[in-house]
């Protein structure tokens, strides 16, 4: 029993920690996709954020400044994407592919020049994002140990749930959110009503970059303590998958991220003990996603104007 509760606690902890970067990026992706801009450049924006976050934290000694700068680095690449796709009407898939090459390319090159290695110098524990509830719970009882396991998480994990709530509120309870959704459904109608579609989309893509950058920074400043070229690999795409899974809604994306996080957690718990091949366990999240889609979720309705550049009539 004690063992089970312990494992459950670790499981929950792992789920939360692995879903955090995905959720940041997914929330970002929601902004972009819902406003009508396909953003497959999330991966590149995350990588930029991951590198910038660790480097700034390393030199300033402050994890929060690093975390914020990670977001800003993502926002910079978001701005590039917005410039190409929104302002110049470029093909969104092509521009996103370019971001996915440019982001990692530039930061790994800078890493090479700065540190003479593609990895950054590992952060000290004090430079990582702090753990909020360390030592709050009494670990002598079973329940206390459970709580201590679960809440050993980093502060940014709790922050992302607040962020999700805020994003949900913005999307569905504010005028900005209504306009944002309208831009993705029928930009021409928005324009008729005096909404500046280009400005809205530009802002949304930048926000998506910022959130993705935060997600990337979390990977290198909490889950691990240094940037390596393979820090992010694939997570940006998983975040996009979570958004499609959640039918382009922030609360749906949260569920998607929870699923991926849970499966990663399962990997951690089963990995050491069960004797099942590690490669097969690693496959679980992806197979489960497809099965869940077939059984429960079904068709995902893409915002009508998603992927189509909006060119203003003269």
């Amino acid at each position: 029993m004690t063992n089970f509760v312990n494992t459950l606690g670790i499981m929950l902890y792992a789920t939360l920690i692995y879903m955090t970067p995905l959720l940041y990026a997914s929330l970002g992706s929601c902004f972009s996709e819902v406003s009508g801009v396909v953003n497959i450049g999330i991966e590149g924006m995350m990588t930029a954020g991951a590198f910038t976050g660790t480097v700034v934290a390393y030199f300033t000694g402050s994890p929060w400044i690093g975390f914020l700068c990670g977001g800003l680095a993502g926002a910079f690449f978001g701005m590039l994407h917005a410039l190409a796709t929104v302002s110049l009407g470029a093909d969104q898939t092509i521009a996103g592919t370019a971001i996915n090459m440019l982001g990692p390319g530039i930061v790994i090159m800078i890493a090479k020049v700065m540190f003479n290695s593609t990895d950054t110098i590992p952060l000290d524990a004090s430079m990582k994002i702090p753990r909020l509830f360390r030592g709050v719970f009494d670990t002598s009882t079973v329940f206390g140990r459970f709580m201590d396991n679960v809440f050993a998480n980093y502060a940014a994990t709790y922050l992302v749930f607040i962020a999700a709530l805020v994003v949900w509120f913005v999307f569905y309870k504010t005028r900005f959110g209504l306009r944002l959704r309208a831009c993705g459904e029928h930009p021409q109608a928005c324009e008729t009503l005096g909404i500046d579609v280009l400005k809205m989309r530009f802002a949304c893509v930048c926000i998506s970059g910022f959130l993705s950058g935060l997600g990337g920074a979390f990977v290198t400043m909490a889950i691990s303590n240094q940037f390596r070229p393979i820090s992010i690999v694939g997570q940006g795409f998983i975040a996009i998958a979570a958004v499609i899974f959640g039918k382009f809604r922030p609360h749906g994306a949260l569920l998607g991220c929870l699923l991926f996080g849970f499966c990663s957690g399962l990997k951690v718990v089963l990995g050491g003990s069960s004797g099942i091949d590690m490669q097969l366990i690693s496959m679980i999240p992806y197979v489960v996603t497809v099965i869940v889609l077939i059984l429960f979720v079904g068709k995902s309705r893409v915002p009508s104007a998603n992927g189509r550049p909006f060119i203003r009539a003269k």
Binding site: I40, L80, A84, T85, L88, G89, A90, D91, T93, I94, A95, T97, A98, I99, N100, M101, L102, G103, P104, G105, I106, I108, M109, K112, V113, T118, I230, V233, G234, F237, I238, I240, A241, I244, F245, D277, Q279, L280, S282, M283, P285, Y286, V287, T289, V290, L293, I294, G298, K299, S300, V302
Partner: protein
């Protein structure tokens, strides 16, 4: 029509001009980065050029470019038919693994049989991987981009899993499969390589790549099947109305696209790798295919040239550290090229800058007439 105007029109209409401009801009941005880092632009680019222009260097380029050509073809083919095959990576991996299984387990089969067998196994595996995704889309309406991303990872872990099987796993300590049988190798004979001074992994896979290019072009441009696929790609409702089965077309397109990617995996294995390692992250041949297809204007012959260009950059880039420049410069250059290709759509608006049409008068009249006609009816 004066000469200047036609020149502008020429620039605005020719796609390959946009691509050439983008490539130049890419190298320009690369040069700016080099200058910022305080490195010699001349030394770095000189090294890049000198390492790919010698005979030995060029043979490396060709060898490097083979998988990129195939994945580029795969993505280009899917673009033509209105699907975005981001699952190319997974199809490449399963193709490679299928070829490895055949190449190791059926090692005793004579060369003339074993090589086609490996190709076939790889193409079949790639095609199945593509068709599964198509099936999920046509049967349950599951977004293909999502399932492709999932299947890329399933393929990756599946490959690692299979590589661990005792029958296939290396006898030594290496985290990899056994080497494939000599009979499955596409390497040129040692004598030929030495006498011509080619690179040690010189192989005739490029001929297969060229054949695949011609075949893909032929299917798209010269067959009814290709016509149907293109019709679905440009307007699936019109195609359906015209009596084309959209679902079947999607499955066919993904099948062919997957087979091309799978073949790429086989060629890479049989020419260069000769065994499959257990990786900790995806290798990215499929993602490179997206870039190659974009640089090649989604045209099979374009993909062939772009694949060789990409191969040259990859190989040349690996030599950059000899002059103290980071290898990753290549990714920056290629990323910039793709970025400018994306925004090169503004070139197509150049001609509008030049000739301002008389505002709206000619537009209005037919509209009025139409209105009248409608009223009179």
């Amino acid at each position: 029509m004066n000469k200047k105007k036609s020149f502008l029109e020429f620039i605005s209409e020719k796609r390959f001009i946009h691509i050439l401009i983008s490539i130049l801009l890419g190298f320009l941005v690369g040069a700016i980065f080099l200058a910022i880092m305080g490195l010699s632009v001349g030394a770095a680019y000189g090294r890049l050029i000198s390492s790919v222009t010698s005979l030995k260097g060029f043979s490396y380029v060709i060898v490097y470019s083979i998988p990129y050509i195939l994945t580029g073809l795969s993505v280009a083919f899917s673009f033509k038919t209105g699907v975005f095959n981001i699952g190319c990576e997974g199809q490449f991996v399963v193709g490679s693994m299928a070829a490895a299984c055949v190449g190791i387990l059926a090692g005793g089969v004579p060369k003339i049989l074993l090589i086609p067998l490996c190709f076939l196994a790889a193409m079949l595996a790639g095609a199945i991987w593509g068709i599964i995704v198509g099936f999920l889309k046509t049967k349950w309406g599951i977004n293909e981009v999502l399932s492709m991303i999932m299947f890329n990872w399933v393929a990756f872990y599946l490959s690692n899993y299979i590589a661990g099987f005792p029958a296939i796993h290396s006898d030594g300590t290496a985290e990899a499969t056994k080497n494939i049988s000599e009979n499955a190798s596409t390497l040129l004979s040692k004598g030929v390589i030495d006498s011509l001074g080619l690179c040690p992994t010189a192989n005739w896979g490029i001929l297969v790549a060229i054949a695949a290019t011609v075949l893909a072009w032929f299917i798209i441009e010269k067959t009814t099947l290709g016509y149907e696929l293109k019709a679905v790609g440009s307007n699936k409702f019109a195609a359906e109305y015209g009596g084309i089965s959209v679902n079947r077309s999607i499955l066919t397109a993904l099948g062919i696209s997957g087979a091309l990617a799978g073949l790429g995996g086989a060629l890479q294995l049989m020419g260069m790798g000769s065994r499959i390692s257990i990786f900790s992250s995806q290798e990215g041949f499929g993602f490179a295919g997206i870039v190659v297809a974009l640089i090649g204007c989604s045209n099979p012959f374009g993909a062939l040239i772009a694949g060789i260009f990409y191969g040259a950059l990859t190989f040349g880039g690996s030599k950059l550290n000899l002059v103290g420049a980071p290898t990753q410069l290549i990714n920056v250059i290629v990323g910039t090229v793709v970025f400018f290709i994306a925004i090169s759509i503004i070139f197509t608006r150049l001609r509008f800058l030049k000739k301002k049409p008389k505002p709206k008068v000619p537009d209005k009249k037919p509209a009025e007439e139409k209105g009248k006609e409608a009223a009179s009816e």
